[in-house]
């Protein structure tokens, strides 16, 4: 190496040679991308692989910390799963979960999008107001739960009292088996619509100006503008937002814990809550792990399906 003349080492690259003409450009690019992607993957593997393996292994045992030997009892690996299929309470929780998830995700998408559209016009007032609207999402969920518990308690709730004052008395919703779940849905939507609103707003602001100007010049009305210009741009964002709300709705906890405790009876006992009760109140860790594993599998499947449907309109494919 040391005998090479300096002139060769210093040979400059041709000035305007296009990248594409340099051999191995694509591979180099791939390597650059990998450099950006791999650290995140490594971190995720490090912090989720272990717990996930632990979860699956535990679901194959009747683990109950009160009986230490049950941690390695693999005599009946499918036992928990068999019991789950026959468990009426588990099946009920799936149905309740489905109702809650569908209702809240749909409501949050609709309301979030609606508010985002309303607030998107450029005006100082609306800009100021935008920040205020994220307030419900910003409150700690436990505080939200407590506030709504009071709102749903007829004895002390300002809302109930106002309704009674104008002659429309409403009975306690959270003690009514038919209404309790919808009461929770209302509180949940109030708490999380800012998520979809924020996403929709950001997406709206990234829409290029020309298609809109062009459409306006062509005389497009508000509805047509939305349907043919805005919505196609928004759709991928809404799918992602909906997906995230779906995943998070399955983890819903504080509202149910404070408002109804899964009741009346089991009318609001969603699957996650049932898993919590089994794991933390009765320490059936094995059984709780089996429920959690099934939940993750179910959500994964659902996400895969939705992802396929939603990305049908992917632009660069």
């Amino acid at each position: 190496m040391a005998t090479q003349p300096a002139s060769i080492e210093r040979a400059p690259r041709p000035a305007r040679l296009p990248r594409a003409a340099v051999p191995g450009w694509r591979r180099e690019q791939q390597r650059s991308f990998a450099l950006g992607l791999i650290p995140a993957l490594l971190v995720l593997v490090a912090i989720t692989l272990g717990p996930t393996i632990y979860l699956i292994i535990t679901s194959l045992t009747p683990l109950d910390p009160v009986h230490p030997h049950s941690a390695t009892d693999f005599s009946d690996p499918a036992g928990n799963y068999r019991a789950l299929i026959a468990d009426a309470r588990f099946l009920n929780s799936l149905w309740v979960q489905m109702k809650l998830s569908v209702a809240t995700v749909a409501a949050q998408l609709a309301i979030g999008l609606g508010v985002a559209l309303l607030l998107n016009a450029g005006s100082r007032f609306l800009e100021a107001v935008r920040t205020a609207f994220i307030l419900p999402m910003v409150l700690p969920p436990i505080v939200v739960a407590v506030v709504w518990k009071v709102i749903f308690t007829p004895d002390v709730s300002p809302v109930h009292r106002m309704l009674a004052a104008i002659g429309l008395p409403v009975h306690s919703l959270i003690a009514d088996p038919a209404m309790a779940l919808w009461a929770i849905a209302v509180a949940d939507t109030w708490e999380w619509f800012p998520f979809t609103m924020l996403m929709a707003l950001a997406a709206l602001q990234m829409i290029p100006g020309e298609p809109i100007d062009a459409a306006r010049i062509d005389g497009a009305g508000r509805l047509a503008l939305f349907r043919y210009i805005l919505f196609p741009y928004l759709r991928p964002t809404l799918v992602v937002a909906g997906l995230f709300r779906l995943i998070d709705s399955i983890k819903a906890f504080p509202l149910i814990y404070v408002l109804t405790n899964g009741g009346p009876g089991t009318a609001t006992e969603v699957t996650n809550y049932y898993a919590f009760v089994e794991s933390f109140n009765f320490s059936y860790w094995g059984y709780g792990s089996a429920i959690a594993t099934l939940m993750v599998a179910g959500v994964l499947l659902l996400s895969w399906i939705i992802g396929h449907l939603g990305q049908g309109a992917e632009r660069d494919e």
């Binding site: 490090a46 518990k149 003690a175 009514d176 933390f280 009765f282 059936y284």
Partner: protein, 448 residues
């Protein structure tokens, strides 16, 4: 992340090494010299939920540190936080704590699973327990809860919460010509007479029915398990149990406020204090709040024993006590703390200075200083307290010491809610509770 762990572990090794060396070199662990304190160099980690007693005790902990040279980390998180944390800690075999409160709803689980140290050895050892500490001074009804079926003691009670009846608006009772109800029939009768008088609903128990319904269950001659601890077969679908459930749920439905089944114990207390509900069968810790300074019903409240059913009177007794987790590395020092905290001189000092303390020692309850403290609105709670504790010794509270009770507890909650909200009849709901309880016990590996 792995690097972080390695660094920490190395740090821990270094720390452990330094500590060992220090212990060997420094005179702290040497034979007791004049002036050195018995527990110096030891750190005790202690936790209890934030009851008034526990918070009061924290003011006296410096006294203990001063006398023994131990360092004490004393924390009092709120009830749900304490229980959740402690349960995770104990169930994973941790050794972060030396003295812990044994919460009454977890007695069955924590003691039944062997997560606390039996204390009989300490009590019998004159070196560890001074003779004038008088362990027999503690109310037997209170200590009974912390004994396992074989009779070994696992915690020393610092409180016994008794189930009794309280009325926030006794003036409405008087207007209707009714005394405090003593039987279930009288209760139904009185509720009918005072419900919604002056806009106040008549009946409001807390929605933890696995606690507030059981006296009614047993009063009708029913029970939770057939014969705990030997026979753990649930008996929730007997005719007596169904009758009791129907009676209780009817009271709730007919005489409770709107949404009564959603009222937790904190809500019940707040509602009673605001005078927005009248009669509540509940724990004494809650009911005496009606006499507090900020209570609107301080002048109209009254108290009575838990009402009796056709088959007798079975008021619940909920005890909390100090125990030593098996993972503790300083068990002897922990025991010293417990003997100090529940010693007669300290308790008397607390009562004298702050008007309150642990009230599980008979000698304290009999003392003149204390007599006046348990009187609310002119009504003497002490007699109710002692009579109820006495009843508790009959052993009907054994169902609470069974470690699988929480599962059955939840089924009872669900059943009463189903009946009171009109989703099921009493027979249907209790039968479902019975079947689900059987399934739960099976899942817990119990052979019936």
């Amino acid at each position: 992340m792995a690097v972080l762990g390695r660094r920490l572990r190395r740090r821990q090794f270094l720390q452990a090494g330094a500590a060992t060396a220090g212990a060997l070199i420094l005179p702290g662990r040497a034979p007791a010299q004049a002036g050195s304190k018995p527990l110096s160099g030891i750190t005790l980690n202690i936790a209890c939920w934030s009851s008034p007693y526990a918070k009061l005790l924290s003011d006296y902990v410096p006294q203990f540190q001063e006398a023994t040279g131990a360092k004490v980390n004393y924390e009092t998180p709120s009830f749900p936080i304490y229980n959740q944390r402690t349960d995770v800690e104990l169930s994973t075999g941790g050794s972060s704590y030396d003295v812990l409160n044994v919460t009454f709803i977890y007695i069955g689980r924590w003691i039944g699973a062997g997560w606390f140290v039996p204390l009989d050895g300490y009590l019998k050892d004159p070196q560890k327990t001074p003779a004038d500490w008088e362990p027999d001074d503690f109310l037997p009804g209170a200590t009974a809860a912390f004994k396992n079926p074989a009779g070994r003691l696992y915690a020393i009670p610092w409180t016994a919460d008794i189930y009794m009846g309280g009325a926030a608006r006794y003036d409405l009772f008087e207007k209707a010509g009714k005394p405090m109800p003593d039987t279930f029939d009288e209760l139904a009768d009185t509720m009918k007479a005072v419900h919604m008088k002056d806009g106040v609903p008549g009946f409001l128990p807390e929605n933890h029915y696995g606690w507030s319904f059981i006296p009614f269950l047993q009063g009708y001659g029913g029970n939770v398990f057939r014969d705990p601890p030997e026979d753990l077969t649930p008996v929730l679908d007997t005719p007596e149990a169904i009758a009791a459930a129907e009676f209780f749920a009817k009271l709730l439905h007919d005489y409770g406020p709107d949404g009564a089944i959603s009222y937790t114990y904190e809500q019940v207390v707040a509602t009673l204090k605001a005078g927005r509900a009248n009669y509540s069968p509940n724990g004494q810790i809650f009911l005496v709040q009606m006499g507090a300074k900020d209570s609107k019903v301080a002048n109209t409240c009254n108290f009575s024993m838990c009402p009796a059913g056709p088959k007798g009177r079975f008021p619940g007794v909920a005890t909390h006590g100090w125990g030593i987790p098996t993972g503790s590395k300083n068990k002897d020092a922990a025991w010293q703390f417990i003997t100090w905290a529940l010693s007669k001189p300290l308790i008397r000092q607390m009562v004298a200075e702050r008007g309150y303390s642990s009230i599980t020692r008979r000698s304290l309850i009999d003392s003149p200083e204390f007599k006046g403290k348990l009187t609310v609105n002119g009504h003497d709670i002490v007699k109710i307290y002692l009579d109820t504790i006495e009843l508790g010794t009959r052993g009907y509270m054994k169902y609470r010491t069974i470690y699988v009770y929480p599962q059955v507890d939840k089924q009872i909650d669900i059943a009463i809610q189903n009946i009171a909200s009109g989703q099921m009849s009493a027979a249907q709901a209790m039968r479902q509770a019975q079947q689900n309880s059987l399934a739960e016990l099976q899942r817990a590996g119990i052979k019936l």
